[in-house]
């Protein structure tokens, strides 16, 4: 199999690789870039633990081939903190106890970030609808919804 040259931006840093055509974005992030915040759980697009933002849109990175994101701009959970300060969503998740085992958390935060980017003042209904894209097997959904609403109330300055 011929490898393919791809270049894109991850958390504002340009990267370029020669990848096999069948490498997933999740594999590239975790294995080539050591960005292990994005997790693989089901590997089939059901759970959302691998959610990252591709040009601002939340995607299951386990279902995306790396060659598909050539030229795109990708944000992972590692790219949310600014100047040593955590993103308001990350703060709210900690304060509200929205983390149990923590495996789904990075995917949850990325899904929530995409929601707040397009709708800074969501209702509880909006939050529940959006967050239902992700599965938490500890089933701590209530606190996750509270955390997202809390971050929205505090205002997440874009970034």
């Amino acid at each position: 199999m011929k490898s393919i040259k791809v270049s894109f931006r991850v958390n504002d840093e340009p990267v370029a690789f020669q990848v096999k055509p069948y490498e997933t974005l999740l594999e590239t992030l975790r294995e080539r870039l050591d960005l292990i915040g994005s997790k693989e759980a089901c590997g089939l697009g059901s759970c959302g633990a691998c959610t990252v933002l591709v040009d601002g849109i939340p995607l299951r990175s386990c279902l995306v081939l790396t060659p598909e994101v050539d030229g795109a701009s990708i944000t992972t959970v590692e790219g949310l903190a600014r100047d040593g300060n955590l993103h308001p969503l990350q703060e709210s998740f900690m304060e509200k106890g929205a983390v149990q085992c923590g495996f789904c958390t990075s995917g949850m935060i990325m899904t929530a970030k995409a929601l707040l980017d397009r709708n800074p003042k969501p209702t509880q209904k909006d939050v529940v609808k959006t967050m239902s894209s992700n599965i938490c097997r500890c089933t701590g959904y209530k606190k996750i919804v509270e955390a997202v609403l809390d971050a929205a109330a505090k205002g997440t300055s874009k970034g």
């Binding site: 490498e23 089939l44 081939l65 060659p67 239902s132 894209s133």
Partner: protein, 314 residues
Amino acid sequence: MILPAFEYKKAEDVASAIALYEKAKGQARYLAGGTDLVPLVKLRLSTPGTLIDLKGIEQLKTLSSQRGSLVIGPNVTLFEFKNHELVRDYFPALWESLEATSCETLQMRGTIGGNLLQNTRCLLYNKSLEWRTARGFCYKMGGETCNVVPKATACFSNYCSDNALSLLSLGASLKLAGPEGERKVKLEKIFSGNGRDPFTLKPGEILTEIRVPLKKSAGAYEKLRVRNAIDYPLLGVAVSIQDGKGRVCVGGIGPAPKVYDLKDLSGAGLKEVAEQARQEARPVANTTLSAGYRKKMVQVLTERAIKRAMKEGK
């Protein structure tokens, strides 16, 4: 889960995609959002030599109203489609089915074309290669038996598109392009009724356009599932009513949806169609809910969907 080896090609336009398909000598699959195809490839249920990415084709991304029709490019994502200004107003059944499809994140990746042409599903088919090897291959995997219904002569896998049902109720038609040229078909004509190979598309054909007559309708979509998000339908019923005539579509049971005309919009006509739909439904034990329960729910959801659609129509 690791993908098997394949080549990746990006097509610039429809003609070059078909040329790439022909070059791959039938060993290729078209890739749009990938939310259906990539899991199938990961599970080794599909083993393409080449994936031809259609996402770069501008022509397939348009969404506009033209001469009395809403013309939808198959690469329009479900999320974009749902939020189009005309959909909620003109086609409530379609809006509800789009809203009920999977979850927001997958709606942002999955396309309407891919949603229509998704493969049929079965509890004993969508499994890992190891699981399937241990159990023995069924008809849909190229074997000589059905693992769900002993001695069955056909495959009972379920067609799980929510939006095909609402589009059928609205009289949608499709345009296909392939190595042998272009053709137009009514949406109901793409279903073969054979679970092994559920579509009548010819090898190499690409869905290039979906067309829905732009006429205001009343409608509703009812979906049976265990969780309120992410799940595929275990039964879906779409109803659209235009000019005093209704169309009812029942899907999620068996490899092709069923369409019923609702001529009499009175209470008796409603009951008759719901009863007929229940009698004709042939669910088997290949989902997480029992066949008997799904069969009963065909009547319940059909009645519910028609009642809701009629209330909206007033």
